[in-house]
Symmetry: D2
Subunit: 382 residues, 4 copies
Amino acid sequence: MHRFRLRIPLSIFVFLMLILLSGVGFGQTKIRTDIAIPDIPGYITLKCDFHNHTVFSDGYVWPTVRAEEAWHEGLDAFAITDHVEYQYFSADIPVQLNRSFDLAQAAALELNLLAVKGAEITRKMPPGHINAVFIRDVVPLNTSDYRDAVKAAKDQGGFVFWNHPTFPHPEGKAIWSTEIEELFAKGWLNGVEVVNSTHYCPEAHQWCLDKKLTMLGNSDVHDPMAIEYGIHNREHRPMTLVFVRERSLEGIREALFSRRTAVFWEDRLIGEEQYLRSIFNASVRVLNPRLGMTGKGVALLQVRNRSDVDFELEADGEMDGFSFPREITLLKGKTVLLRIARKNGAPRIATAQKIDLPYRVKNLLVAPVKGLTVVLGADIEE
Amino acid sequence: MHRFRLRIPLSIFVFLMLILLSGVGFGQTKIRTDIAIPDIPGYITLKCDFHNHTVFSDGYVWPTVRAEEAWHEGLDAFAITDHVEYQYFSADIPVQLNRSFDLAQAAALELNLLAVKGAEITRKMPPGHINAVFIRDVVPLNTSDYRDAVKAAKDQGGFVFWNHPTFPHPEGKAIWSTEIEELFAKGWLNGVEVVNSTHYCPEAHQWCLDKKLTMLGNSDVHDPMAIEYGIHNREHRPMTLVFVRERSLEGIREALFSRRTAVFWEDRLIGEEQYLRSIFNASVRVLNPRLGMTGKGVALLQVRNRSDVDFELEADGEMDGFSFPREITLLKGKTVLLRIARKNGAPRIATAQKIDLPYRVKNLLVAPVKGLTVVLGADIEE
Amino acid sequence: MHRFRLRIPLSIFVFLMLILLSGVGFGQTKIRTDIAIPDIPGYITLKCDFHNHTVFSDGYVWPTVRAEEAWHEGLDAFAITDHVEYQYFSADIPVQLNRSFDLAQAAALELNLLAVKGAEITRKMPPGHINAVFIRDVVPLNTSDYRDAVKAAKDQGGFVFWNHPTFPHPEGKAIWSTEIEELFAKGWLNGVEVVNSTHYCPEAHQWCLDKKLTMLGNSDVHDPMAIEYGIHNREHRPMTLVFVRERSLEGIREALFSRRTAVFWEDRLIGEEQYLRSIFNASVRVLNPRLGMTGKGVALLQVRNRSDVDFELEADGEMDGFSFPREITLLKGKTVLLRIARKNGAPRIATAQKIDLPYRVKNLLVAPVKGLTVVLGADIEE
Amino acid sequence: MHRFRLRIPLSIFVFLMLILLSGVGFGQTKIRTDIAIPDIPGYITLKCDFHNHTVFSDGYVWPTVRAEEAWHEGLDAFAITDHVEYQYFSADIPVQLNRSFDLAQAAALELNLLAVKGAEITRKMPPGHINAVFIRDVVPLNTSDYRDAVKAAKDQGGFVFWNHPTFPHPEGKAIWSTEIEELFAKGWLNGVEVVNSTHYCPEAHQWCLDKKLTMLGNSDVHDPMAIEYGIHNREHRPMTLVFVRERSLEGIREALFSRRTAVFWEDRLIGEEQYLRSIFNASVRVLNPRLGMTGKGVALLQVRNRSDVDFELEADGEMDGFSFPREITLLKGKTVLLRIARKNGAPRIATAQKIDLPYRVKNLLVAPVKGLTVVLGADIEE
């Protein structure tokens, strides 16, 4: 009785509150920091995270927060991938499998972000956890046999990838199980997480190269992003770079199925050689390609890196007549100086000479433990 | 039927999941940054935030996140103060008025933090929003007349304070309404938020001095903390410094009722003169109090500030015979150099002389627009 | 005798040393941080500092350091302006008036920087200190009457400007003395330092506007740059922006005489309205100029600032029907969100509507205490 | 004649200038950042750099700058060690071997720093470069046979150490030459630079352990410090930690001869086990040594590191019944959380149990590639 009497004034009160609160300015400016990884010839480079949780499974934030975080951190797109079968807070939040995406999508629209609908099919290993993105309805994925769940996702046109293949032991070895092989053989597996959260999986990297699967790198965030990834000032979540023809959901979907991705993780890029080379070339520029040597036989090459990735170079061979730095880091957003010196006893240069400094970029991984080879070129004269 | 058949395997599955997930190391190190505001003679200085929201009213995080954030940011205590009458997500989360505190408290215990139970009594102005903390049960506060709600809090021994007195216009003028006067006259109002979120209220500051109310500064956070306060690297949430006899809930409660607080907001401290002076004295030290002048009549005083507050000093008077910096900032965690010079024509010092440099600390506010006066002393000789 | 015997082996030894040391890698990478202030229509924006000292007057570094610092900090050009009549270290370094420039220029060439030859004609006030840049020989400026020194600079085609007009009291009022008027009347004064080191001079600013003089902002550095300007991480020296037709010494000289400059000082730009407006327009972009309003009557404008200047905006008027932020900072290198909301009671928008948000940029000073007015425009619809 | 006529007014002018300039406030606040490496039982920990160059040999700054830099960076002491036989700028600065120290010392006194007089005896390898510090007069070291130079330093009571033993190839292998052996056998060699500039020499490290030589780590700075070591925000110069009985020149001298030093280089400490252990123990504290386990069998150990060194721990063994982090970094100035969990199947704890988590600190090098072993202890109960 007491409670009933209260309900009427309260409903009016809540209405008044909504009006009152909606105009309040007790807030802070919202700020976005773009991620400087350039577009490559023919494609726009979108920054995406295809693995996010909310309070509707076992995450600790309301779904709209995932949109705010993605905008704040300079992403273009994110997927909501709450567990289909596992809702940690179901005692407090009745299960609604499609609800978290709906909430996140509304917030994404306001922020001009692309929200991707997804779900995590959750089994112990094997086969482990499997994400399906670009699906329309999560409910059909809620079924006892994981094969049926994956099939339901594929029936909706979903893009399916295997999450953290070493789960539950992040430092362990990834095993290509018969269960995964079965999904792969059926054409139901489109990609693998080469990076999940703080962990890189070299086996997954190699499988993507060998079996022509799409490489993904995702945060798998549960806490607010700043709690999981905010330790150091410049840290960022792992993300999947998607090379699209147009900035749209369909653009992303097409690129994922076409394997046009790379992974940006900590200070590394992981991907097919062609994409890493394109990013390097679009990022790095020799500012003074025409160099005069001083009387001392020294020339200083100025190299600018406009990306947000430090490129860690080590010399990949020698050059006749000249010494050049054996190790140098092309720091993000900076110009560095490479000192080129005529070796003792080497002859002076008669005419302008083309030099190509051979380097290997240790943190652009075209295969496990294999860096991209590049050259920095200039014309030098005395 | 379909759903029923699923439930049994799912409940087992959830149990397996819990086991699987509990040991997973796919996470990051948790890091806490202490706030360097020193203890003062006779009291421990606790850093507290008495105004936090969760998804159980109109916040955007699960209650445990408020504990994680508080630990991460170096706080000692926080209060959960969800709105009593207003649950923005009630369509998804059935209302349970005591639930958010219970969840937050469990997380706080693991982290050795003090969790304070509270609630926000929410009316339009007047009287506006009122927080009650150190209460035992929120349910009795859910009543149509705000007077009854406040009385219910006081009956439980609660500490009651008025939130953001300029609401809903943060830049507006605060009015001491008859409604507030009535609560105050009854002894039901113990404090006022001098700072809420990004806004300082000078009227509230003066009321606390005149009416012997407790000064509070709180975040009123709704989003994840890093989204609301993470714009610049060194930003922190506003907080209430509580000078306690012991680090315990009862210690905080006693200090609040005894008005032993100050407010740390952006780069300012706000409070009674005695507390701000104690903090300044405990923070600042002249490293070379015995100074010799050089032949040029110059001496360099080294002053170290071990706190996390930049103290902004401006000269508050002149000194016979010597010039000294008119403006200087004692930067947080740094030692700065103050150049003392014999004025042109001033006589040389015959014997060691005690000098007291008079300053006003602009950002230690003992009243609205009134900085704390201090002296930096040294013995000088030639 | 002893010393003579040593000299022969030593000269050989020094030669060996030179060879040994020249190839040593016991060093660090040299890094340059570009200053992001964009070019403007028709002109390249060069970053220049026309006031630098070395050990050849009363500075504390070898002249080559001024080139290294300028390169490191992203400058395009710097002037060496040692005092003509005042060599603090003459007991250790015999006076050679042209020597410091020659040394600095050689280092500048290696680094692809433009080195400007200059000198500071140093008298007590009036007329105070006067810089002459773009001169060929300092020796003729070493004469007892300052008028003769200025004339010698003008005879060489020099550009002459008055330094820190409040000297020796940085906080004092600048006086347009008869001595300065005499130089000005003769056409011998081309500019004034509106900013010197940490000090802005509003009188100088106004004189430049009224008398059509060139505005300059310079460091007047004596210590290593990092000691004078390295307090906070993001601090930079004051500098003169020069809007040139080509990146060359002649390009700078022509622009200085044509008054195409602005001053970048701390977080402010100071200059003629036309140049500040061009910089603002080249820096700021509305990313979503076509905006849809949500059901709640809210739209979020995304504004990116690609420059290294925080633009501090305050509303400069109201808009019918909509509220928009009264104060907002377009942070350097960031995108911020401006919340536009239909006012209570205002009618819904029938068709797409052009809105122009009127602002004043407080820290783009087109005159003392007068900020540049701008509009941020968008098309809005519901 | 012309020049003579000028000299008279100039000498007066310079005098006026000195007065004018001495009071000028066109400067910035001078700021010192202390280095948080704590004192150890029985000794004060001084931060020292025994290898600095100035324009009086081949450095690029006036000697007083070395004092300013040392103060700014939180050092207690520095040595001026210009080359005895090699003055790169002798064409401009006539050679005076004791001059640079005199100038630096005057500046150091004003700043309350300890200036050590030294010199670098410079030969090609072998024996390479040798520093002598705590000498009284550099002139007797200027002799053709390096043995005579070292003997002259020892005759003055000097402390002699071998610089950068891999010179001129920083990445090369260090060779204990017969020349060095001869000096060592005579008791003329007291220490070796284990770290010089950016390079650590493992051979030197081992020699110091085996031959009971003093370990040193020095900057060997030539440029302004910020140009050589200012690339990243948190970088510091390499330095020698000296564990003294009193903060004085004699205190440092005694400690150097007694081998009470360690080296702080990048993110590493290098030294005898006893000193590194003392620093670790004085830096690290378990905040909650009495731990209760939650129902889930988990306890969170809070460990604070008050030093400026990140301690990188890896597990050095297992514990019966409990899992604990295999790798964790105790970040400088932070508190981190170590998750201790009862292993699956392990019995509950009956009574309070003492646990000692065994770790190896990878970056506290007690020998080349050998980290210090430590334990983190707590009492745990359920």
